[in-house]
Symmetry: D2
Subunit: 381 residues, 4 copies
Amino acid sequence: MTLDVGVLGYRFMGEAHANALARLPMFFPDAPAVNRRVLVGRDEEALADAADRLGFESTATDWRDVVDEVDVFYNLGPNHLHAEPSIAALEAGTPVFCEKPLAPTLEGAEAMADAARTADVPAGCAFNYRFVPAIQYAKQLLEDGTLGEIHHVRGRYLQDWLVDPDAPWAWRLDEGLAGSGALGDLGSHTVDLLRFLVGDDELAGEIERVSGHLRTFVDERPVEDRDDDVETRPVTVDDAYSAQVAFENGAMGTLEASRFASGHKNDHTIEIHGSDGSLRFSLERLNELELLRDGNRGYETILVTDEDDPYVDHWWPPGHVLGWEHTFVHENYEFLTAVAGEASRDDGEAFEPSFEDGLAAQRVLTAIEDSDERGEWVDLE
Amino acid sequence: MTLDVGVLGYRFMGEAHANALARLPMFFPDAPAVNRRVLVGRDEEALADAADRLGFESTATDWRDVVDEVDVFYNLGPNHLHAEPSIAALEAGTPVFCEKPLAPTLEGAEAMADAARTADVPAGCAFNYRFVPAIQYAKQLLEDGTLGEIHHVRGRYLQDWLVDPDAPWAWRLDEGLAGSGALGDLGSHTVDLLRFLVGDDELAGEIERVSGHLRTFVDERPVEDRDDDVETRPVTVDDAYSAQVAFENGAMGTLEASRFASGHKNDHTIEIHGSDGSLRFSLERLNELELLRDGNRGYETILVTDEDDPYVDHWWPPGHVLGWEHTFVHENYEFLTAVAGEASRDDGEAFEPSFEDGLAAQRVLTAIEDSDERGEWVDLE
Amino acid sequence: MTLDVGVLGYRFMGEAHANALARLPMFFPDAPAVNRRVLVGRDEEALADAADRLGFESTATDWRDVVDEVDVFYNLGPNHLHAEPSIAALEAGTPVFCEKPLAPTLEGAEAMADAARTADVPAGCAFNYRFVPAIQYAKQLLEDGTLGEIHHVRGRYLQDWLVDPDAPWAWRLDEGLAGSGALGDLGSHTVDLLRFLVGDDELAGEIERVSGHLRTFVDERPVEDRDDDVETRPVTVDDAYSAQVAFENGAMGTLEASRFASGHKNDHTIEIHGSDGSLRFSLERLNELELLRDGNRGYETILVTDEDDPYVDHWWPPGHVLGWEHTFVHENYEFLTAVAGEASRDDGEAFEPSFEDGLAAQRVLTAIEDSDERGEWVDLE
Amino acid sequence: MTLDVGVLGYRFMGEAHANALARLPMFFPDAPAVNRRVLVGRDEEALADAADRLGFESTATDWRDVVDEVDVFYNLGPNHLHAEPSIAALEAGTPVFCEKPLAPTLEGAEAMADAARTADVPAGCAFNYRFVPAIQYAKQLLEDGTLGEIHHVRGRYLQDWLVDPDAPWAWRLDEGLAGSGALGDLGSHTVDLLRFLVGDDELAGEIERVSGHLRTFVDERPVEDRDDDVETRPVTVDDAYSAQVAFENGAMGTLEASRFASGHKNDHTIEIHGSDGSLRFSLERLNELELLRDGNRGYETILVTDEDDPYVDHWWPPGHVLGWEHTFVHENYEFLTAVAGEASRDDGEAFEPSFEDGLAAQRVLTAIEDSDERGEWVDLE
């Protein structure tokens, strides 16, 4: 059986997922066969070019025509387009894979999770960083109790593409279109990774309370391609956020993200200290994990590219490093495998991160925003 | 003229300062001559041994007999002994050099700063990390505007000596004796360094608002040397703290310290991002500064050991690295020079960090504690 | 026009190149269209499986049937199969892309280069590390004179897959099949990279003299899958080599490779010191270049993933790192572009690294072996 | 009993040792008491200033008047002054501590070692880097067999103070005064450290054969302070050397040093690969050791500042890093302890590194020079 896939969105994320789909047969031959059936967008010319280059059979300008005609629906559009098409697809019984953050508002995320619960088909939220081999390896170590009781957690996602005040306005800077700024775009990744890594009851558990801080350093920005008569638009989202968090089981954490961190391009760093050890990870060196084991004296820099490291046997020999895009191949492999299992039998393992995970992250982000507005700690019920 | 110095405290800090005094003549020949006149402590036997080893002429068991008999009084005792002897010395017109944090309570710090204002002799607070050459070099860069407008500040001081729940109780774990835990012991260094580096009006300015979070992971600990009948005492201070801070001029920051950060021994890290560059410093690699300059693409790892680097011409050729203790030599040199200047003429330059700086740091720490108790942001007036 | 490609070899390198060919249309849309026409190998079953997975139309067990039937011939077989099929293809006027080292012996490499000179079609030697963006960026810096006059060059390629004396015998350990060991397999990469980076007349120029040192630490190894009656075969190649080299223009260098460097998986490091700066590169962190510029004080760690970095505009935004396999996409793009240019007009730019480059590297390697045998420096004529 | 010490040389090394002597009582209270008796030099005025600052009782301009009048003679003069005064002192029965390299020529070193053998008092060669705590810790690990059988050794000492062709001439650039350049000054440290770390019979054993390469990049240099009429003097020593070495037990190594390595100030790096692990050390981060242990996957960065690390209990708590100069305190402690032991009883443990060690290093350096001249490998008998 071949899965017909419909994809909404053909820019950055569209390319990342199309590439992943294209690579599965060669490297994950047991993945379900996939047909890149239809690419959805508004600008017909750009869409046709993209469909050609990304290997889609056809195009459509209205997602309504697509969601019930395909076996899987990928929602890779801007955040404000996440809820409606995803819900429609789920209501049509079509499995959905949606980019993060799940929705620009908590209400949207809740509606999406509701739809997923009702639909009983896989509904995945594409937090791709769970699928970095070093992160999967860290997860195993944590599950095995290697770090002991968790005391400290640190998550930091630094970029610098807005530090120039003349950097142009974009949809990501508008609250209506994006929901939030660095918080949603980057912070959602951090929250999801921490939930994945230490969220188990035996470890730190869920985040229970947060204290947030949001800042917009530059309030308006020029609209691109309007050089004669310079026009600006307001920036209505945060350029940076920080947060303090308290976990169920007593661990404490600090979170942070910025688009103003000069010199940092895509620097997502996770640090965890437990009673028996510590670990550190940086996305800019994603093949590496720094691990302090019980009995050792310092952090060990591990190149997570051995044959028995997660997913690595599908690729190259030890030391032949993977890139950012491989995380998409891994997550597509897992998601499509779940879809195929679901399609053929009832007991298919659910795919995670699911819409529930997307909602859980959104709850934390919303609480951080609330806390910033109210100037006090906010509990997650 | 030779300055007679009286020193209260003969353990860790006593040794660090005695060593600094002993090294001045060889490496800072223009420093005032110093006579290690009298060492003050309670345990006469241990005191006598220490005085012998650390090169003191005599000992005393009551600081009251000392503070008006010497030219300079060093207060290196535990935190709860900072206020009274220091104030008495200042009231006697004796310059005082006091270890950090200035006092266990804000009231104590205010009384000390009052006494200093009245006394009109140098009153220094021994935040030695200002005197790391790499920090002084960073300060110059910041003053020159190398980093532009400051957006982000991060300060983190990680140790792990309490991660073992059987680590013994000590005076540093008692609120009455120490004031606070990681917050006062480690956080005071962080707050002072950030004030020093970016506190100028042209940079981030002072810290205006804070949100704090304190945790005690282990509530009681065994008393050492009571093996037969194991006795424990309560831990009444924080094992770790974190804070979010907002600066006058709009920069945001996160602070953190812990005695539970497995694998970190004395890891004091400062990170600053500005509109034109960034910098990073770690105390465990104190000869280095990582700097992103405008026009460069990445952080440059600078070994701050060149002849024209701050204080370095007093020591060794480039690349012959300095250690932790050299910071004490530099701060003693500056403090004693200020004392000698003060003694001979009225217009002597004031020594910084002063009791005012100690008080300013204490205000931030107290606000962090208040914020943690109240669950909301706290303004510094 | 679509190029029909025939490929000899379907294991590690077969997969790396098939993947590269498959990815060109999506990321390098201006690359010539390619038809994976025929895959050549001896084991029919394994070959059929590989052809299916790697996307080839057909298979063949004799390269003689292929070399004049395709538009391009890829020779990715073991070293002892490099010369004959490549020469036959060139004699048939078919462009050839051959894996490195060009041949197991100098005579073989000379015959191949002769055939390439006569044939007047592109004959490429697949030194893929020239096509790492950070290496291309380093090349630009060197050509621009950023490092000034070159004094020192260091090249080191460390692996550890043979450190266990029970690691099984393989064809790479037989002189007849492989030519040499670490020297040819790893050292050929190092020599080619150094020739690429500093071989220009204005920089260090060619290597003029060498002194070599080869070692075999384990002389025989078990044959795999013969557990009952343990059989061993002799190791007749080097496990490690080192060399000192002198360049035309006075620079000096040290080279080294090993399969016994515990803890190093694929650690190819290049270091260059010039009168105005220095640079460092490590393959295990292939997205980074460490650069000391004139006027700076230390090495700057540059993440070479900006839009204007070589090849990066074809991929992802800044900080979204590439992997090892991307080097194959880049080299295939360049090679096929040269082939297409050659096919349509006479003035097509030659592809480099060519068979001449493969021969030049082989000359250095052979001189290193000769030097080791003779115990003295050997001149390259 | 107090040892009267006479010291020849009052510049860089004079200061380093005077500082070490001055610090012993406070930090190594069980060290023999020392009296800085007499400082020897030629320039009376500079000498008097130095004696005052460095704490010497008196001065002398002729070492002949000193060597038999003191309990210990320190020879810290330029290399060409090592042999005669050291031999005279030993002939007078005075223990000698001589800076490295032991002598500018092999003949000189042999004569010195002969004198030491005859004298039967401690004769130490001041290879201070043996006394870095991290090196002592590495030595223990190696002795315990942590790295298994040694395969590879790498030693590299990089500086850049001569990369500017206008850097002034100095005695270190004259063969008659210095013996050799980077080879003797820096390479002697490397050879000694490797002998110390892996020279035991159970490890790599002694160096058996060498192949050397020496280069002088700039042949003449301006004499300082002759600005009007620029005068130059020839550089008659090497600016840089490299060597390949073969050890008794089959390990291979590469050595290198340079004064032309832009960006490196005092970068002495040691790397060792064994069958069970690897280690790395860099002098610019001398508090750290990178260790790959059997069973671990990557190098562990160890801060060698724990209480039970070598010498560390004499200093500060964990993480309070030491500097370059502490190595002198440790070596003076060991040397003077040996002297005091020798003085009071016959069975005193010999101090190492001794003149024999200095001679052994000199033999390797001389063989490297010979090899470079002859263009072939040279055996050490």
